[in-house]
């Protein structure tokens, strides 16, 4: 399906680059996609993240995606124990970890088996021949050795016995064979650093800090790193040296950030900005657990984390915390979300601020726990009994998780309503360089508790936001009782009155709708504000859609991209935006959920482009789809 050019990279020019002090000339590239793949025990995640750091320091824009095996520790050498890490870096904006890889590093046959399909034809394949033993070949399901049987003829094959080279390199450290073997990943990293002309110093620093308590290990890893680098220098492979110039990025202080960490930090920030303690009620679940892990490390910010007995208790604890005047938050993934529906209804009915974060994964049921998906949108919208409207937001990149978490707290506390923030496994585990914001530039969250007993009742509303008064236990003179039964609009007491019920249902809905005045209008990410085709996405498909649209526009196609971060309420101008295009295409990692909402709301014939494979969109898939629509 893809139409990628059959080259290992996208050369800018093939003449030797000027100004390089390295011993051999480098080919300049616009960018490259590199994937590391090996056994779970091979340390591929460490390799990947160190390569990422060096790439960031080299000034490239980048995006990464780690791909863990579903098993905790599958037996070594098996295909289901393969761990991968992909990075896309370039001298221009990067929006996704890339489709196919230009370079694939495979540490064993199983890694080759499962990853080869993602290497571009003609791409560079680096293989650790030392691991291609008969036993390993068999475990991976190879009858013959692919490094030798000619089956890899379509690729640039670079076989190195990394195992042996590493052992030789670290011999002097005095480590055991087994321990020495563990340094393979740094040897490989050294080689890659040589290929892309990277500075080894920061990684050496990192190694020394990380293994401060095991100096021999530190020493061995540094030796391996240097040996890999030296191997590049000495072996006759200088035609593989590349340079990816710096990307033209906004000045500022940068870091790499992953979605779950960004979410957790966004919550910390919101709590600081609102000057309110935050209570996270959570129950571990892949891929959401890291939000719990990360927040539990920051109690100095007045953050309490409760690992509850289950997801129901987790959301109830968050509701209890909100009731008592803290910011109540719960974070989970699909199956856990399904369990929270009833309690969410209570938060809707009692109009308490509550932030629910659903880091979506493959479903239905237990599904594909380690894979990504966007199939919980309609659950977020409707997964409760009765008319129980809540706000729904979606982050579009790892770094955006930070801002959307703040936004979720802002809307929840301002409107006294539950807000669901949707992210997904792809955002959660992916990383991108992120410009560190100045705390002073973050939005102010101005939260006021009710303290005045004059004329008080708990369902008194702010005429603007329709938010009810937040009156917390312990406040003198504001004693009141709330609950999940219907309440009288004018007193807050239980009411079975028919007209009152309709009024309350409508005011709860209206309150969510009012947020539309308080959120940004829908913008166009790429392209213009009218034309033949608008591609509308939400959540983690942002990068792939944006890049695909950009490429299509570069080919002269009349296509634009809008990305919806506010799913309920939808931006107030969204209907107009959609109306200005002849066709609307909605790519989603589900069977058409946003598409359903848009069609119903605006009666536009939005066309769904579903993908439900536990994998993000490839840029090329969307590009193809757009071309198919516009060129046919």
């Amino acid at each position: 399906m893809t139409t990628e050019a059959a080259v290992p990279s996208s050369p800018l020019e093939s003449s030797p680059a000027e100004g390089l002090v390295d011993s051999a000339p480098r080919r300049k590239l616009r960018g490259a996609v590199v994937r590391f793949a090996g056994d779970s025990g091979d340390g591929m995640q460490v390799t990947g993240s160190q390569f990422t750091s060096s790439t960031a320091l080299a000034g490239n824009d980048l995006a990464t995606f780690p791909d863990f095996p579903a098993e905790i520790r599958a037996p070594a050498g098996t295909t289901y124990g393969v761990s991968g890490f992909q990075i896309n870096f370039a001298s221009e904006d990067v929006f996704t970890p890339g489709d196919a890889a230009d370079v694939l590093v495979t540490m064993n046959p199983a890694a080759l088996k499962t990853n080869l399909k993602d290497l571009k034809r003609g791409g560079l394949l680096i293989a650790n021949s030392g691991a291609f033993s008969t036993a390993n070949l068999k475990k991976a399901g190879y009858a013959t050795n692919p490094l030798e049987d000619g089956s890899l003829d379509g690729y640039e094959l670079l076989t190195i016995d990394i195992t042996k080279n590493t052992q030789a390199a670290v011999k002097e450290s005095g480590l055991s064979n087994k321990e020495s073997n563990r340094c393979k990943n740094f040897w490989t990293l050294g080689l890659m650093f040589w290929i892309y002309g990277r500075d080894m110093a920061p990684t050496i620093d990192w190694i020394e800090k990380k293994f401060a308590k095991q100096p021999e290990v530190a020493r061995a890893n540094v030796l391996a790193l240097k040996a890999g680098h030296a191997y590049g220098e000495t072996a006759e492979i200088s035609h593989y040296r590349y340079e990816v110039p710096k990307a033209p990025v906004e000045p500022g202080l940068y870091r790499n950030i992953g979605g779950n960490i960004a979410t957790a930090w966004g919550l910390v920030a919101a709590s600081q900005l609102a000057k309110l303690p935050l209570v996270l009620g959570a129950y571990p679940i892949t891929p959401a657990s890291d939000v719990l892990h990360e927040l539990s490390r920051h109690k100095q910010f007045g953050i309490s984390t409760i690992q509850a007995e289950d997801e129901i208790a987790a959301v109830c604890a968050a509701i209890g915390a909100s009731y008592a005047g803290n910011i109540g938050v719960t974070a989970t993934s699909g199956p856990g979300m399904a369990l929270k529906g009833e309690a969410l209804g209570l938060a809707v009915s009692t109009e308490l601020p509550l932030v629910i974060i659903n880091i979506q994964r493959g479903g239905p049921s237990t599904g594909l726990p380690t894979k990504t998906e966007q199939a919980d949108l309609l659950q977020a919208m409707y997964g409760r009994n009765g008319e129980a409207p809540v706000a729904v937001l979606a982050a579009q990149s790892p770094g955006d998780c930070f801002y959307m978490a703040i936004e979720a707290v802002r809307l929840a506390t301002k409107y006294m309503a539950p807000v669901i923030l949707l992210t997904d496994g792809y955002l959660a585990n992916g990383t991108e360089p992120w410009k560190i914001p100045d705390v002073a530039d973050l939005p102010r969250l101005d939260v006021q508790f009710r303290t005045d007993p004059e004329g008080f009742h708990p369902f008194l509303r702010d005429p603007e936001t329709l938010a009810r008064a937040w009156a917390i236990p312990g406040t003198p003179g504001l004693r009141h009782r709330i609950g999940g039964l219907e309440k009288d609009y004018d007193s807050g007491h239980i009411s079975y009155d028919p007209a009152n019920h309709e009024r309350m249902c409508k005011v709860r809905a209206e309150k969510i709708e009012r947020m539309a005045r308080d959120i940004p209008e829908q913008t166009i990410e790429e392209g213009v504000d009218s034309g033949k085709l608008l591609v509308v996405g939400w959540g983690s498909t942002y990068g792939a859609i944006r890049e695909a649209v950009r490429r299509c526009r570069a080919r002269g196609l009349d296509v634009s991209h809008a990305h919806v971060r506010y799913l309920n309420p939808l931006p107030r101008n969204l209907g107009d935006v959609l109306g200005r295009f002849e066709r609307v295409l909605v790519p989603e990692l589900n069977l058409g959920q946003l598409s359903l909402l848009l069609r119903s709301r605006y009666l536009v014939p939005a066309e769904s482009y579903p993908k439900i494979q536990g994998q993000p969109f490839r840029i090329a898939e969307i590009e193809d789809k757009i071309r198919q629509l516009l060129e046919s």
């Binding site: 930090w265 100095q300 129901i312 008592a324 312990g474 004693r479 009782r481």
Partner: protein, 344 residues
């Protein structure tokens, strides 16, 4: 900020709300409410610092009738809501009103974890051995063979004893009383209020509409003395019209038996008070034995079966947070800039 001044000494009336109490006439819930409203003023806790939390059931309407803060939540979840309330504000005095269905059927898991964590809340379980609000189905405390709307041929489920469950769950305070026995109930409520940690108090409550007389066999004037064992820490376990019956233990088999003071036992030895077990509310095994005595062969043990002081969840959480705050400044900018960064 507020100009409302708390009355120096609260009275029972201060705890009543203006809401009509909507239990069936004659329901045991009324007398529990009255007793609670009698005891609360004694505690010296300002009205504004008290929160009543409940699930769903007749019993769970309790918060509406208490002039404190109140949260009538969803079925079975009161302990989980309370967990968040106490995490946010451990200074609040938090009371839970729950039923046998609410606490032990749908809510069993939350109660288990509340007990083992020792969250500092008082749990009043109104055990009427029936689902009242849904109009008469059997509950997890209903006896085998019970004929109810959902068991026209008699229930086949074997019940769970709430106190036994609470002890198994490492509850730090386990007590029992009866709706209408004002004096005893008041004493138990006082003890519960004074306990730091989960004060689990089961109250036998008559549902005169769907399970009338469920406890008559030991609650009635006629049987009271012979069939209630009022336990008190440090006092021998005696009961009976003449207070001359007691519980004795076989130390090798750990079997309990009822003996009569001054009368010869099975082996012909005359029983003295020395033979009778002395209640030690700090001994969980004794509490467990007392909680599970078969009735009517043995009396029903009432009072504080077990009480021990151990750290509460909310206090530990709070301390940990405070320690973290003392150890590190809350510097958001520093957090964002921590780890590997680079300047462009």
């Amino acid at each position: 900020m507020s100009n409302v001044i708390q009355p120096a000494q609260l009275t029972r009336k201060d705890f009543a709300t203006d809401q009509d109490v909507r239990w069936c006439p004659g329901c045991g819930d009324y007398s529990i409410l009255a007793n609670v409203q009698r005891v609360m003023p004694e505690l010296g806790i300002p009205l504004d610092d008290i929160v009543w939390i409940s699930g769903i059931g007749c019993s769970s309407r309790f918060p509406y009738y208490m002039n404190t803060y109140g949260f009538h939540t969803i079925h079975g979840r009161a302990p989980a809501i309370a967990l968040g309330v106490k995490a946010a504000n451990p200074k609040l005095s938090v009371w839970l009103a729950t039923g046998d269905g609410d606490a032990l059927s749908i809510g069993g898991n939350h109660l288990l974890h509340c007990l083992r964590r020792n969250l500092d809340v008082k749990v009043l379980l109104f055990n009427n051995r029936i689902y009242g609000l849904t109009k008469g189905q059997y509950s997890p405390t209903s006896e085998v063979g019970k004929i109810t709307k959902s068991t026209p041929l008699g229930s086949t489920d074997q019940p769970v004893d709430p106190a036994s469950f609470a002890l198994g769950a490492h509850g730090s305070f386990v007590a029992r009383s009866i709706d209408t026995e004002a004096q005893h109930l008041t004493m138990v409520l006082r003890r519960a209020a004074a306990h730091r940690g989960t004060a689990f108090t089961e109250i036998y409550q008559n549902c005169n509409v769907f399970n009338d007389g469920a406890f008559e066999s030991f609650r009635s004037k006629e049987h009271q003395k012979e069939r209630q064992l009022l336990v008190e820490h440090g006092k021998p376990l005696l009961f009976g019209e003449q207070n001359d019956k007691g519980l004795r233990l076989n130390p090798r088999t750990l079997g309990l038996e009822v003996v009569t003071l001054g009368a010869p036992d099975a082996s012909g030895n005359v029983v003295t008070e020395q033979d009778v077990l002395v209640h030690d509310e700090t001994n969980p095994a004794l509490a467990y034995l007392l909680a599970r005595m078969p009735f009517p062969e043995f009396p029903v043990a009432l009072g504080v079966l077990f009480a021990e002081q151990r750290p509460t969840y909310d206090a530990s959480l709070w301390e940990q947070n405070e320690r973290a705050k003392a150890a590190q400044p809350a510097d958001l900018g520093a957090l964002l800039r921590s780890g590997n960064t680079w300047q462009v």
